[in-house]
């Protein structure tokens, strides 16, 4: 974390007492937070048991999520209650102050005084992890650091809390020890470190800085831009996917130039380290995948292989921390497995495409997903599991387009992580038989015109000599 944020942290300390305040209608009787650092981003899951201490039933509760809002990848709140069928609750951002985001969560029904509810909040904030040292020798173990908060993050008073850190090998707390109060020491079970559970009076809006490091000998793949283009063709019954990745590795950088000798001698190419030697891309399951290709800006990359139905890409060079590698990946499916005609509406289809394929562990900063519907198709609507930043409908010309070009529906997303790969986007569009037949007819017509043109051209006499004039035979 850089200096400015430290200053902000200090600043916040001064003003913490007057932060976002709500009426103390709830009390947290148990607060359990789990930080999962197994991947290249932090998964934060908090389970709280809240008790209504007010005198009236309450249907809303507030939650706080730290981190810059632009880095927030996902935020879900779930009410754990056996009576409910749809446990995901709607939450609304009500304030963002000093790096904390305050959400109001609407409960499905008002909770009576003295009653308890159990809520689970989970969120992913990207760009939270940084390497402990910026540069290091090739093959050195990689230590990462995280700045977060230790005591309960809550706008309500808390009675009991525990914090578990999962996957933090060689955990080491770095936050400056506060004088006076004895520091809690975590108990350890393999790579899980557990603080607490502690009982006591934890004030509302009290944020206790927590800085720790851990060992993580894996790359931190980071995709700055991902363009996913789906081409729909009803004629050939195919759904083509082409993905363009701008990939980088946020792992520790090399402290000197890359030395091939050291790389070969240390056998880094064949061991787990912060270097990305290969990229594993699981192919969609249960559907046939054809015509896989893997290229980059200088042509075909020949080093890819199928391993147990997954695609194993080997980049041209090992990707060290701070290095970049752009590449294009594509394949083809049968359209009939993804698009279905809508019953009762002639020529209407529902197309289901994946939000993400690709890397097993990655953070995506910007994702542009485009669906190229056939020429003449009409876009009706689309649904996605969560909100997109923007959606644009326009037309783009491709081969043999005769009128306005392919209808292109583009969705813009930001801050995605690989965990969202299972989610689908459904595009509803209309593509009538007439539109389908239009293209071959128009194409045929143009070819006919061209042939006729050729025929007429041949009829034109371009001879500059008068008719009947025969040149003399060549002189010898």
């Amino acid at each position: 974390m850089n200096l400015i944020s430290i200053i902000f942290g200090v600043l916040f300390y001064l003003s913490a007492c007057s932060a976002f305040e709500v009426s103390q209608t709830w009390e947290i009787s148990n607060y359990q937070r789990t930080l999962d650092v197994l991947k290249s981003y932090v998964k934060d899951r908090t389970t709280i048991v809240a008790r209504n201490i007010g005198s009236e039933p309450s249907a809303e509760i507030y939650a706080v999520v730290p981190g810059d809002r632009k880095d927030l990848a996902l935020q879900v709140s779930i009410l754990e209650s056996p009576q409910l069928t749809a446990p995901v609750l709607t939450s609304e951002l009500v304030a963002t102050e000093n790096g904390f985001n305050y959400y109001r969560i609407d409960l499905p029904f008002p909770m009576a005084p003295k009653s308890e509810i159990r809520l689970m909040l989970s969120y992913i904030v990207i760009n939270q992890i940084s390497t402990l040292v910026e540069e290091d020798k090739m093959g050195a173990p990689q230590y990462l650091q995280i700045h977060t908060y230790k005591e309960p993050l809550s706008v309500y008073e808390t009675k009991k809390y525990q914090l578990a850190i999962v996957g933090a090998k060689e955990f080491n707390e770095l936050s400056t020890k506060k004088e006076g109060s004895p520091e809690p020491v975590p108990s350890r079970e393999r790579d899980t470190y557990l603080f607490g559970p502690y009982e006591g009076e934890y004030k509302a809006n009290h944020f206790d800085e927590f800085h720790f490091s851990y060992r993580h000998d894996f790359p931190l793949p980071y995709v700055y831009n991902l363009e996913r283009n789906f081409w729909v063709s009803h004629w050939s019954d195919s759904l083509q996917l082409e993905e363009y990745y701008e990939l980088s590795n946020k792992a520790v950088k090399l402290d000197s130039g890359f030395s091939r000798v050291d790389f070969m001698n240390s056998k880094l190419g064949h061991s787990y380290s912060s270097v990305m030697n290969s990229i594993m891309v699981p192919l969609p399951e249960n559907v046939e995948t054809e015509g896989v290709y893997y290229t980059d800006k200088v042509g075909n990359v020949t080093t890819s292989a199928f391993v147990h139905g997954d695609l194993l890409l080997k980049p041209r060079f090992p990707i060290f921390g701070g290095w970049h590698y752009n590449f294009t990946l594509g394949w083809e499916h049968k359209l009939s497995e993804f698009a279905h005609a809508v019953d009762g509406a002639l020529g209407e289809y529902l197309l289901k495409v994946k939000l993400l394929d690709g890397l097993v562990d990655a953070v995506y900063e910007n994702v542009t997903l485009s669906v190229y519907l056939p020429e003449g198709a009409k876009f009706i609507n689309a649904t996605a599991p969560f909100e997109w930043e923007d959606m644009v409908i326009d037309h783009e010309y491709s081969y043999l387009d005769v009128s306005s070009g392919h209808t292109k529906v583009t969705f813009y997303f930001s801050n995605l992580v690989d965990e969202l790969r299972g989610l689908d986007i459904i595009v509803h569009y209309k593509y009538s038989v007439l539109a389908m037949l239009k293209k071959p007819f128009v194409t045929a017509f143009y070819i006919f015109l061209a042939l006729m043109g050729l025929y007429f051209l041949r009829k034109i006499d371009v001879n500059i000599k008068p008719k009947g004039y025969a040149p003399n035979p060549a002189s010898k």
Partner: protein
């Protein structure tokens, strides 16, 4: 009280604090003194209050208190380090000192003739400063007291008028021909330094002779990290010897309180089309805005007369003088030549 208004005031204060800081916003400064010098703090109150007046966030540690680390996780813990004469076996490894300077840290090193700390000496040698080792004494038979320099001829970094400069236990340095060194105070022409143990004076036993010796030297690395070496601690101590103007100037230079130039902007435009793309033969206008730190603020720099622009392909094709156009803005107009990689280089 409403929270947002509180935040606003704090933010304002913070802004203000930021504005009076020197150019480098990170100003943590470490002052190291010898552990045997128990009265150091009480004897250097004037110097320390000078540091305070420059709004430097400083720590004073004896070599005993200092844990020999200036880096943590590859980041430097301090922006500036001031080292007073010490006999400690190690303070910071000389490679760390090099790294510290390489990363933009500033150093202020004061030595004397009672023996120079090894790390510091090796480091200074790397820079081309060779202070006289233990046992060499500064001798000048033409002056009464070698511990006082009367009317020192101070150059470059200071305009301070000093009548008598205390230079007790002064050491003297030889300098290499490095262009990065700035000799502030030269030894007098009639001086030499000799090893007192030997008793004879010859080539081997003298360190310097005449004005090839130097007593105060400044240094600015290519990355703008600065260093000052001073041959005697005498005029930093409280009392009559304290030479306020000189010390202030040296500190201001070394810790980047003054003498920093910053490029505000660089722009170029095609005069014929008003675009930033060029064809061969087009006229281009190049502008650069410069400002310097006057101790409190960045102000436009208007005093340069020798600023040049080069347009290079293998050899400089153009070398044009930039003229002052408006406050702090220098510019020139030229014709784009063919077959040149437009590497624009500002010389000064």
């Amino acid at each position: 009280m409403n929270f947002s208004s509180v935040f606003f005031t704090i933010a304002c204060l913070f802004q203000l604090a930021f504005a009076i800081r020197p150019p480098t916003d990170f100003s943590k400064t470490l002052v190291i003194y010898d552990k045997d010098d128990t009265d150091f703090i009480s004897e250097h109150t004037q110097f320390l209050s000078l540091l305070k007046s420059r709004s430097l966030d400083y720590e004073v540690k004896s070599t005993f208190e200092f844990d020999n680390t200036i880096f943590e996780h590859g980041q430097k813990l301090y922006q500036n380090i001031i080292v007073f004469p010490t006999h400690a076996k190690t303070i910071v490894d000389e490679r760390d000192l090099l790294k510290f300077s390489q990363k933009g840290g500033n150093l202020f090193i004061i030595t004397d003739n009672t023996g120079i700390q090894t790390d510091v000496a090796i480091f200074l040698n790397q820079l081309g400063i060779y202070p006289s080792p233990k046992g060499y004494n500064y001798v000048d038979h033409h002056v009464k007291d070698a511990n006082v320099i009367s009317e020192p001829n101070l150059k470059y970094l200071t305009n301070a008028k000093v009548d008598e400069l205390a230079f007790n236990d002064g050491s003297v340095a030889l300098l290499s021909n490095s262009e990065l060194l700035i000799p502030v105070l030269q030894a007098s022409k009639s001086s030499f330094s000799a090893n007192i143990d030997d008793g004879v004076i010859n080539r081997e036993t003298t360190w310097h002779s005449g004005d090839q010796g130097f007593r105060i030297v400044g240094f600015q690395g290519l990355n703008n990290a600065r260093l000052t070496w001073v041959g005697s601690p005498a005029f930093f101590a409280d009392g009559a010897n304290y030479s306020e103007d000189l010390v202030a100037d040296l500190v201001d230079f070394t810790l980047h309180v003054k003498g920093s130039i910053k490029t505000e902007f660089i722009s170029h435009i095609n005069v014929d089309t008003n675009e930033t793309s060029y064809k061969v033969g087009d006229n281009a206008k190049f502008q650069i805005g410069l400002s310097h730190w006057n101790g409190e603020d960045w102000v436009p720099l208007n005093t340069l007369e020798d600023l040049q622009l080069e347009f290079i392909m293998l050899d400089p094709y153009y070398r044009l003088n930039l003229t002052l156009e408006s406050d702090g803005v220098y510019s020139t107009t030229f014709k784009i030549p063919d077959q040149h990689v437009p590497k624009i280089l500002g010389d000064h």
